[in-house]
């Protein structure tokens, strides 16, 4: 199916009791491309993935994967998809190899084919050395790789990765990005959910921003940034106590109110044209003896995009403790 959409959701609604998890979400992932579903915890990303992968029934809406109706042809959908991430898991007591062989057998491969495929995947995901150890002994990154390997057993053309790097440290995250890039390089369609803007920016061809069960923006990373039609000027004042003053002085330069971090003395303003405004910034602050420690002109990041659409930062959303440690909350 060239030039078509491998994953389609139209107007999907799902309630959990009184809570509206999905409020009429529509997305389409082009065949062979990576669609990034970006949003904070509780936005409805996982619910949508669960619906698309046959694990959950929507209240209403149309969902199709690989041209199959997900609600009517569940078993056939399961034959062509792979799922990994937060909720799809591996068995802790089995070894890595046993896990993969088991999954292969459950795809109804012969014993030999399942063993051979397991060996290939273990090598591909750099798990050969740990292959015959119980998964209990694996690190977080190794578990994620095994989980990803398990989703690749039947060489699916359509892959769902639900927050594949949540909970991983920076090094493991970047290694995971490389792995994912390699996986999709052969034309696999990927739906990737993430709460990391950087991750969507790095991996996704198209991004759908979702918050409170609704799609609030979509496009390529560049389009989302371009829609803001603005540059950002980041200023750090030498004396953090002057942050508020600086913010007030710079207000006239921007349509939006500047974002500030009083502890660090950061002020960030969105301007029509960075090059023209930068001299103005220096003049305004200098006139009132607010001394500048650092001044940067930059294009908007996805974080700015999210902030301007939703009014809140993506990482500050309330989180479920189960999914995220306390460490990140403190740093947020």
């Amino acid at each position: 199916m060239p030039n078509s959409n491998s994953i389609i959701a139209e107007n999907v609604v799902k309630h959990f009791g009184d809570i509206k998890a999905l409020d009429g979400v529509s997305i389409a992932a082009e065949t062979g491309k990576v669609l990034g579903l970006l949003g904070p915890n509780g936005a409805g990303k996982t619910t949508l993935v669960r619906i698309l992968t046959t694990l959950l029934k929507p209240d209403s809406g149309v969902v199709s994967v690989g041209g199959l109706d997900v609600l009517r042809q569940k078993q056939r959908v399961r034959e062509i998809i792979g799922l990994a991430g937060q909720y799809a898991a591996v068995d802790e007591i089995l070894t890595g190899r046993e896990n993969l062989v088991m999954v292969g057998r459950l795809y109804h491969m012969s014993r030999r084919a399942a063993k051979q495929r397991a060996a290939e995947l273990l090598a591909q995901f750099a798990l050969t050395e740990a292959a015959d150890r119980s998964v209990k002994t694996y690190s977080g990154g190794m578990r994620r790789r095994l989980d990803l390997a398990a989703s690749m057993v039947a060489r699916p053309n359509i892959l769902f990765l639900d927050e594949p790097t949540t909970g991983l440290d920076a090094r493991a995250r970047i290694a995971m990005w490389d792995t994912i890039r390699e996986l999709v390089s052969d034309g696999t369609t990927l739906l990737l959910t993430t709460q990391y803007l950087e991750e969507a920016d790095e991996l996704a061809d198209q991004i759908v921003v979702i918050d409170h069960g609704r799609v609030i923006a979509e496009g390529t990373a560049d389009q989302l940034k371009a829609n803001m039609a603005a540059d950002f000027i980041d200023i750090t004042v030498s004396n953090p106590q002057q942050t508020a003053q600086a913010s007030q002085l710079l207000q006239p330069l921007s349509d939006e109110s500047p974002h500030t971090d009083e502890q660090r003395g950061h002020v960030s303003i969105a301007v029509e044209s960075g090059a023209q405004s930068i001299a103005e910034v220096v003049r305004l602050l200098d006139a009132q003896s607010v001394s500048i420690a650092e001044l940067n002109l930059r294009r908007p990041s996805l974080n700015d995009v999210f902030l301007s659409i939703t009014g809140h930062e993506i990482v500050e959303e309330e989180s479920k403790p189960k999914r995220r440690g306390f460490g990140r909350r403190r740093s947020a």
Partner: protein, 277 residues
């Protein structure tokens, strides 16, 4: 060309698979999952050891502590009355493991992995119930060996083994009740309690430890005489002590079939809807 046969086999062309093949997959998938569950027992032998020691301790305690008092009402050697009963008790309690095992799987998300695979819908449950039944059988064999050491004897080996088979079949049926409970409870710690709690009245208000005619309250006696645990325990006891009563065997088999007929579909229905969150 990197397109390979595996992706074609797993692709949309796979809808040509016959109904017969899909039917067979129920069994092969069950076998794969059962092996996965048995690995868990094999790799955590302490689980198996304690699961075996506990009923043996029960057997010794009941025989030597209560045996003297109870043998007045059982007539003859209490061990011959007790062992068949305690085999049923052991098998019932082993089924609580099905509740706990399923709830643990649910809480860890491996059930989502299984549910996203094109495998038989009953296999995850049947793989669990059959593994737990095998574990129950293992424990029972050790108990029979322990019983032999302290004086238990099969009157007739053929009938005795038939009794054993009936006990295991009953245990298998009960694991489907436990599976259903596990899928409703979901939380592993709650499952620890929920898996056992309903077994106590069924075990003690039965003919497992004492003859039901010694129970003084009439309502209790009526319940105890007619509930499936007593029916099966009496049949197993008769078989193990050499009495073959075909009527009894048929009623026991009907109970077993009835339990499976109700709880297997209920568990499978629940499994298709359960969410691990």
């Amino acid at each position: 060309m990197t397109l390979n046969t595996a992706s074609v086999a797993a692709g949309p062309g796979a809808n040509e698979i016959s109904i017969f093949q899909r039917f067979l997959w129920n069994f092969t998938d069950t076998f794969v999952v059962m092996r996965r569950n048995l690995y868990a027992y094999q790799r955590q032998p302490e689980l198996l050891v304690f699961a075996t020691i506990q009923p043996v301790i029960f057997l010794l305690l009941f025989t030597y502590v209560f045996g003297g008092a109870i043998s007045f009402s059982t007539g003859g050697d209490y061990i011959n009355f007790l062992l068949p009963g305690i085999i049923i008790q052991t098998i019932l309690f082993a089924s609580a493991n099905t509740t706990v095992g399923l709830s643990v799987d649910l809480s860890k998300g491996i059930i989502d992995r299984f549910r996203s695979l094109p495998m038989s819908r009953a296999a995850v449950l049947a793989g669990r119930t059959s593994a737990d039944t095998l574990r129950g059988l293992f424990t029972v064999l050790i108990m029979i060996a322990a019983g032999y050491i302290i004086g238990f004897r099969f009157e007739n080996w053929g009938a005795g083994l038939l009794g054993l088979a009936l006990a295991v079949a009953f245990g298998y049926a009960v694991t489907w009740i436990s599976a259903t409970i596990g899928l409703f409870v979901k939380d592993p710690e709650a499952a620890q309690v929920a898996g056992f709690i309903w077994l106590f009245p069924l075990t003690f208000a039965s003919s497992i430890f004492v003859p039901t005619r010694t129970m003084t309250a009439e309502w209790l006696r009526t319940f105890a005489e007619n509930q499936p645990v007593s029916v099966v325990a009496n049949t197993v006891r008769d078989l193990m002590t050499g009495t073959v009563n075909p009527d009894e065997i048929v009623i026991s088999l009907l109970w077993i079939a009835g339990i499976v007929a109700v709880f297997l579909p209920m568990a499978v229905w629940r499994y298709a809807r359960v969410s691990s969150r």
